[in-house]
Subunit: 704 residues, 2 copies
C-alpha cells in the first residue's frame, strides 16, 4: 500500500514533490511526539509501544483476576484499588468485579515459588486501550510489577482521570535489585521499614537486605540466646513475631528479605552479653561511636562455632530466604594480633596472616550456614578462592572485585557506587552500572553471575525522622539502573521522572518531603515569622550536607549514636533540587553566548533574592542557636549573589570583564567552596562558570 | 522599703526628680516587656507570671511522679517524654527518673473520677525556673493539661533548647470544651479520630462528641441489633472493640466521649434494616444526598420505644460517659403529617402539633435514657418546659436559646458560631462567646448552667484526607475561647499563636498542612513542571471555598456522599493565611496615608507576581481538567493585580485619582466578588480599599 502510494505520488508530482511530502510527514510525526509528553514511568519498561487515546478512570473502575489465583494476588488487587482510590481521590469500590465488567483484567498463568528465588520470571505484559486494560504475567511477581506500572500511568488529563493507551512488555535487567537498611546504628521502627517496602514495590525493587547487628546494636529477638537482644539493644529490637509479619509484608510486594548478621567484626553488641565470643578480654559495652573498632570474634575457639550454629540455626528458620548475609567486612585484626592463643593457633594451622585466619573462619561459617540450608553471602572480604562456589560476593569495593569473583565462578552483586549515605547526586548513582569497568569485559556466562546490586542506607546519620529523605527519591534512580535496559541513561529524563515518583511516594505514605519542612520548623522555632521562615528555606534550599566520609571529621564534636539529629545538616535533602535547577539555568544562559535576556532576568532575580536574604534571616539567628549555626552560610549566599550580580553586570556591557576582576572573583568564590556547619553551598560552581563566561569565556564565543 | 526609697529620693531630688525617675522606670519596664516575646501558649493560661532565665532542655531531661499516682499518669509521663523527644529531636530516655534527679517533678494530690465528669477540677500550677520545673494539680486532669503547657513552652533559644522561667496558675473558664466529628456523612477512620484526640489534648479540649448515625450512615456495631450496622453502613463502621479502645485513648488524654444517635429525624440509615421504625412506608436505602429529609421515627408505636430501649441499653453500657446525645434536630414532620395513624394518635393524646409530638417522643426517650443511668442531651429542638431539668440543650441556634433554657433551669452548651464546616475565619469563631448576647444578662447562677461549647465538624465535604485541614488550626481558636479568661480576645495575638500551634500539631501527626500540598500535586498531575506547580500554589493561596451553606447550591452537579473530593475547593484551607497577610499589608500601607515606600514596593511586587501568574498556569490548565476548573479564577487574579497596580500608580502621582477611574475599577472589582468553581478570590476587598484610598480616600487624609 505504502509502495503503491509512493509510486503514484512520484508519478504525479516527481521525486522532489515526494521528498517534500516525506519531510513534511516527518515534521508532523516529530511535532506529535513533542506534543505527547513522555510517559512518567520509573523504572522505564523494557518495551513501550504508545497507542491511540486513553482509558478513562472513574469511580466505576474495577479489576478482576483470571487464570491462576491465590490470596496474595487478591490482596494485591485490593491494595491496588486502594492505592488507585488514594491517588485519584475517586470512591473506587474495594471489591473485585466480575470478569466481563472489569476495567482491568489480571491474568496469571501459574504460581511463583513458595519462597521467592533469585532469577524467577518477573515479566509482565500490560495493554491499555480506550476500552479497558489487560495485565498478564507468568506468575504473581510480574503481576505485582505490572500493577505498579498501571498506577504510575494514571494521571489527570485534559478531560478527566485517565491512563494513556499503551502496550508494555517488561522484565528486569537484573534479578537482584536491593535496598539495604542498617537498623543497628540507629534503630528504625517497623512502620518506617514497612513504608520503605511500599516504596520499593513502587519502583520494582525485590530484595530488602536488613543489617540487623553491628557494634552499636543487636536488633533482633533471639529466643535461644536472649541475652543478645536483652543486653545488646537498649531495648530497641524487633520481636520474632514482628519479623515474621514484615517478611510476609515484603513477600506480598514481591520482595525477598535477606538478613545480615555481621561477623566476625562489627560485633561489639554481641559481646556485651557474650564476651566469651570475643578475641580480647571484656567486659564490653554497646558502642556509641562510629568507625571501625577492634573487637572481633575468636575464630580459634570451637565454642564460637557452636554458638554461631545455635544462633544461625534459629535465624535460618525465621528467615525463609535462600540467602544468609554474614557481613565479614572491616576486621582490623588488632584483637587477633594481641591474643597469644590466637597467634599460636595460626602457627599451628599454617595460617600466614589475618586474611588467612578470616578465610578459615569463613569456611567454618559457610559449613554452618550450609548445614541450615542457606547460601552464604558476604562483603568483599569473605572472597577467598578456597571457599565453595555457592557463596556470593557483595561488593562495597567495586566492579573489579565482582569481575575477579565472577571469573572464578562466584556470583556477586554491587553496592559500590550505591551508598545512599554518601550524599551523592542521583545522577552519579545512576551512572554506576554493575556490568561496567572490569566487569564489562566478562564473558556472557561470567556476566550472568553478576546478579545485580543493592543501594545501602548506613545509619550513622539517619533515624526514623529523616531516613526516608536519605533514601528517596535518589534510590529510585538506582532502582531504574537495575531494572531498565542498560541504554536507558539520560539523567535529564531521570530527574524529571524522579520528581514525579517523589510526589507519588509521598501519596503512598513516605515522608521524605514533609519531614524536611517539619524539621526546618523545629530549627526555626516557634517565634519565627513567616518571612524569617521563608528566608531559612531560601538559604537551606541551596545547601547540601558534606559528602562521602567527611561528616565525622567535620563534626563540631565527636558524633555518637546519642547525638541529637536536629540540625540543618540533618534536615535538608542530600541533593538540592533548587541548586540543580539553578545550575541548569546558568548552563542554558551560557549556551546562548549569554544572549538570552529572559534567562539573564531570571538569574538577576535569583541573585537579588539571595543577596537580600541574609538580612531577613539574621534576626532569627539571634533567637535560634540552630539557625545561628548556618548564619555564616547565609552571609556566604549573600556574597555569592553579589559576585553573580557583578558577573551579570559585566556581561551586560557586552565586552569581556578584565582578568584582574576575574581573579578577584574566583578567589572570593574559592573561599565559599569550603564546608561550614557541615554544609556545602551548592551554586558556587555555577556562579564560577558565569564569572569565567563573563571574563572572555563562553559569553564571547569561547567553548564553555 | 519602696516607701522608704521614695521618701529619701524625694528628700534629695524633689518630686520632679522622683517623677522623672518613675517615668524612666516605666519606660524600662515597657521595653523589657517588648523585648520578651509573648509566650507561645494556646490557650492562654488564666495567670502567667514571667520569671528570670530559662530551663535548659537536653537529653538528660527526666520526669518523676510524686503524690498520688496511677497507670494513666505513668502513661501520660511517658507520652510526654516521647513528644518532647519528637519536638526537640533529643534522645530523651523514656523511663521516669528518681525524684531527686528529675528535671520535672509532677505532683498529683488525688485521683479524678473513675468516669470523667463535667465540672471536675482541671486546674494545675506549673513553675519553671533555671534549676527545674514543678507541675502540681489536685488530680490527673490538671496534670494532663499542665504537661501540654510545658510542651508548648519548650523551644529553641539563642543557646540551646529551653523553656522560659515562668509561674503559671491555670484553670478553664468553661467545664465543657468539645469537638464534634460527624462520622456518618463520610466515614472517618479511627486513626484520624485518634490524631484529632491528640490535637484536642494539645489545646485542652475535653469532650469528643461523636455523631455516629445519620441519614447517610449508621457507623457503630450493634451486637443486639446487628442489621443496623450491617445494612446501614456500606461496611464502614466501628466495632465495639474499636470504640472501647478509642474511649480509653480519649480518657488517657482527659477527654470525655459523648456518643450521638440522632433521633427521631436524621435516621434514614436505621430504616434500611428496620423500616418498621419509620413513620412512612419503606423500603429505605442509605441516603447519598445532603440535606433535610422526610423519614422520621414513628413516635406513636410502642415498638419504637422498645427498640430504642434495647439499643440505648446496649450503647449506654459501651459508652461510660454520663451524657447521651439524642440529636433531635430538623424533623420536617412530613412523614408524620402523611400518616393517618399518627394523626389519630395526636388527636387522641391532645398533641396539637408536630412540636408537641416530638416533645412527647422526647419525654419517652428521656425516660429510657434515664433508665440506663444517662443524662440526655440534644439539639435545641428537644427543649420543652415539660421535660425534666436534667436534660441539656445543645444549641446550634444561638445564645438566646441558651439563655431561655438557663432561665428555666436547664443546662446548655453552644455550637452556634462554632460550625467549622461553614468556612469562617478563625477570628469570627474566636469572637463568639457562649455567655454573650442574651446570655450576658443572666444571673450568675443561670450563667453557671452554660457549660461551654462545642465546635462541629459536619462531614458533607470532608473525608479522611482533608478533615484535619477543615478542623485545624481554626479549632484551636475555639479551644482558647472556651478555656481562657473572657478578656483574652486579641485576634492578632490569636493568629500569631495559631500559626505556632499549627506547626506543633503537624509534629504531633496531624496532616492539615501536608495533605494540602499532596492534594495540589494530584490536581496538577504528573506532567506539571516546577514553575507550573508554583503558579498553581500562588493562585490557590489566594482562594477560599465558598462559605456558609452555599457549597451545595453552587456545585456543578448535585453533590452526594460518592462525589470525588479531588478538586481545588476540597484541597485548599478554609481560611487563607496568605490572603489575610496581604490584607494586613494593605491596611498598614493605608494607615500611613499611603506614604510607606517599603509597603508600596511589597504590594507592587505581589501584584506583579499575580499579574504574570496566569500566563504560567494556563498551559497546565490545558493538561489537567482539575486545573482548568480554576483557570477563570486565575485570570481574575491577574485582572485584580492589574487594578491593584493601577491604584499604586495613581497613588504614586500624589493626587487623588478621578472619580470616573474609581467607578470603573469598583465595577470591575464587583465582578471578581462572585464565586467561580465554588471559590472566592480573597484579596478583592483589600484591593477595593486600595482603590478607594487612591481616589481621594485614606491616602489623602480621609479616615479609612
Amino acid at each position: 500500500m505504502v509502495q503503491d502510494f509512493q509510486q503514484n505520488f512520484v508519478h504525479n508530482f516527481g521525486w522532489r514533490g515526494f521528498l517534500l511530502l516525506f519531510l513534511f510527514a516527518l515534521l508532523i510525526l516529530k511535532s506529535i511526539s513533542a506534543q505527547q509528553p513522555a510517559l512518567n514511568l520509573l523504572p522505564i519498561p523494557a518495551n513501550i509501544q504508545p497507542g491511540a487515546g486513553s482509558l478513562r478512570i472513574d469511580s466505576s473502575f474495577s479489576a478482576a483476576l483470571t487464570g491462576y489465583t491465590e490470596p496474595r494476588l487478591e490482596r494485591a488487587a485490593e491494595r491496588f484499588l486502594q492505592q488507585l482510590a488514594r491517588q485519584t481521590a475517586l470512591p473506587i469500590g474495594r471489591k473485585a468485579a466480575r470478569l466481563a465488567q472489569a476495567t482491568l483484567v489480571i491474568h496469571t498463568d501459574h504460581p511463583s515459588k513458595e519462597i521467592q528465588e533469585v532469577g524467577e520470571d518477573e515479566s509482565y505484559v500490560l495493554e491499555i486501550t480506550g476500552g479497558g486494560a489487560k495485565l498478564a504475567a507468568p506468575n504473581p511477581l510480574g503481576i505485582l510489577h505490572g500493577l505498579q506500572t498501571f498506577l504510575q500511568l494514571v494521571d489527570v488529563s485534559s478531560d478527566g482521570l485517565a491512563a494513556p493507551a499503551v502496550m508494555i512488555q517488561d522484565k528486569p535487567r537484573f534479578p537482584w535489585r536491593g535496598l539495604m537498611i542498617d537498623s543497628a546504628r540507629h534503630f528504625i521502627p517497623l512502620e518506617v521499614i514497612r513504608r520503605n517496602l511500599d516504596a520499593m514495590e513502587a519502583v520494582k525493587m525485590n530484595v530488602f537486605h536488613w543489617h540487623l547487628s553491628d557494634n552499636q546494636g543487636f536488633r533482633i529477638e533471639s529466643k535461644r540466646l536472649p541475652k543478645l537482644h536483652e543486653m545488646g539493644s537498649d531495648g530497641l529490637f524487633y520481636t520474632q513475631e514482628e519479623i515474621r509479619d514484615v517478611i510476609a509484608y515484603a513477600r506480598d510486594r514481591g520482595i525477598r528479605m535477606v538478613p545480615e548478621f555481621d561477623v566476625p567484626g562489627h560485633s561489639t553488641a554481641w559481646f556485651v552479653a557474650h564476651p566469651e565470643l570475643a578475641s580480647g578480654p571484656g567486659p564490653y559495652e554497646i558502642e556509641r561511636r562510629w568507625g571501625v573498632f577492634d573487637p572481633a570474634m575468636d575464630p580459634t575457639k570451637e565454642t564460637t562455632y557452636k554458638f554461631l550454629d545455635e544462633f544461625i540455626g534459629e535465624m535460618a528458620k525465621l528467615f525463609p530466604d535462600e540467602f544468609f548475609h554474614v557481613g565479614g567486612d572491616e576486621v582490623n585484626g588488632k584483637q587477633w594480633n594481641a591474643n597469644n592463643q590466637i597467634q599460636e593457633f595460626m602457627r599451628a594451622h599454617g595460617l600466614k596472616n589475618n586474611q588467612a585466619l578470616q578465610a578459615y573462619f569463613n569456611k567454618r561459617l559457610q559449613a554452618i550456614v550450609g548445614k541450615h540450608s542457606k547460601s552464604m553471602i558476604g562483603w568483599d572480604e569473605i572472597f577467598d578462592p578456597s571457599l565453595p562456589k555457592d557463596i556470593t560476593i557483595h561488593s562495597w569495593r567495586g566492579q573489579a572485585s565482582l569481575a575477579t569473583a565472577a571469573k572464578q565462578g562466584y556470583r556477586g552483586l554491587l553496592s559500590n557506587g550505591y551508598y545512599l549515605d554518601l550524599g551523592w547526586p542521583a545522577a552519579r548513582h545512576y551512572a554506576v552500572d554493575p556490568v561496567s569497568g572490569d566487569a564489562a569485559n566478562l564473558s556472557p556466562e561470567e556476566k550472568q553471575r553478576i546478579l545485580g546490586g543493592e543501594s545501602c542506607m548506613w545509619a550513622e546519620y539517619v533515624n526514623a525522622e529523616n531516613i526516608d529523605s536519605r533514601i528517596w527519591p535518589r534510590n529510585a534512580a538506582i532502582a531504574e539502573r537495575l531494572w531498565s535496559p542498560a541504554e536507558v541513561r539520560d539523567p535529564a529524563s531521570m530527574y524529571a521522572r524522579l520528581d514525579f515518583i517523589s510526589t507519588r511516594l509521598e501519596l503512598l505514605g513516605l515522608t521524605h518531603r514533609t519531614h524536611h519542612g517539619r524539621m526546618l520548623h523545629r530549627i526555626a522555632g516557634a517565634t519565627a515569622t513567616t518571612e524569617e521562615f521563608a528566608a531559612l528555606q531560601t538559604l537551606t534550599d541551596q545547601l547540601e550536607p558534606v559528602k562521602d566520609y567527611t561528616r565525622e571529621q567535620t563534626a563540631p564534636a565527636e558524633p555518637t549514636s546519642l547525638t541529637p539529629m536536629n540540625r540543618v545538616v540533618d534536615a535538608i535533602p542530600l541533593e538540592s533540587d533548587a541548586a540543580r535547577r539553578f545550575s541548569e539555568l546558568v548552563n542554558r544562559f551560557i549556551a546562548t553566548s549569554c544572549l538570552d535576556g529572559d534567562a539573564a532576568e531570571l538569574l538577576r532575580a535569583q541573585f537579588t533574592t539571595w543577596r537580600d536574604n541574609d538580612a531577613k534571616l539574621q534576626p532569627l539567628a539571634q533567637r535560634s542557636f540552630l539557625v545561628r549555626e548556618v548564619a555564616a552560610r547565609s552571609q556566604d549566599l549573600s556574597t555569592l549573589a553579589t559576585i553573580g550580580l557583578a558577573a551579570l553586570d559585566a556581561i551586560a556591557k557586552h565586552q569581556p570583564a578584565p582578568d584582574s576582576w576575574k581573579t578577584r572573583q574566583l578567589s572570593a568564590l574559592d573561599k565559599l567552596k569550603t564546608q561550614k556547619a557541615q554544609l556545602l553551598l551548592m551554586p558556587v560552581p555555577a556562579v564560577q562558570k558565569l564569572v569565567e563566561a563573563a571574563a572572555g569565556g563562553a559569553c564571547f564565543g569561547a567553548k564553555p
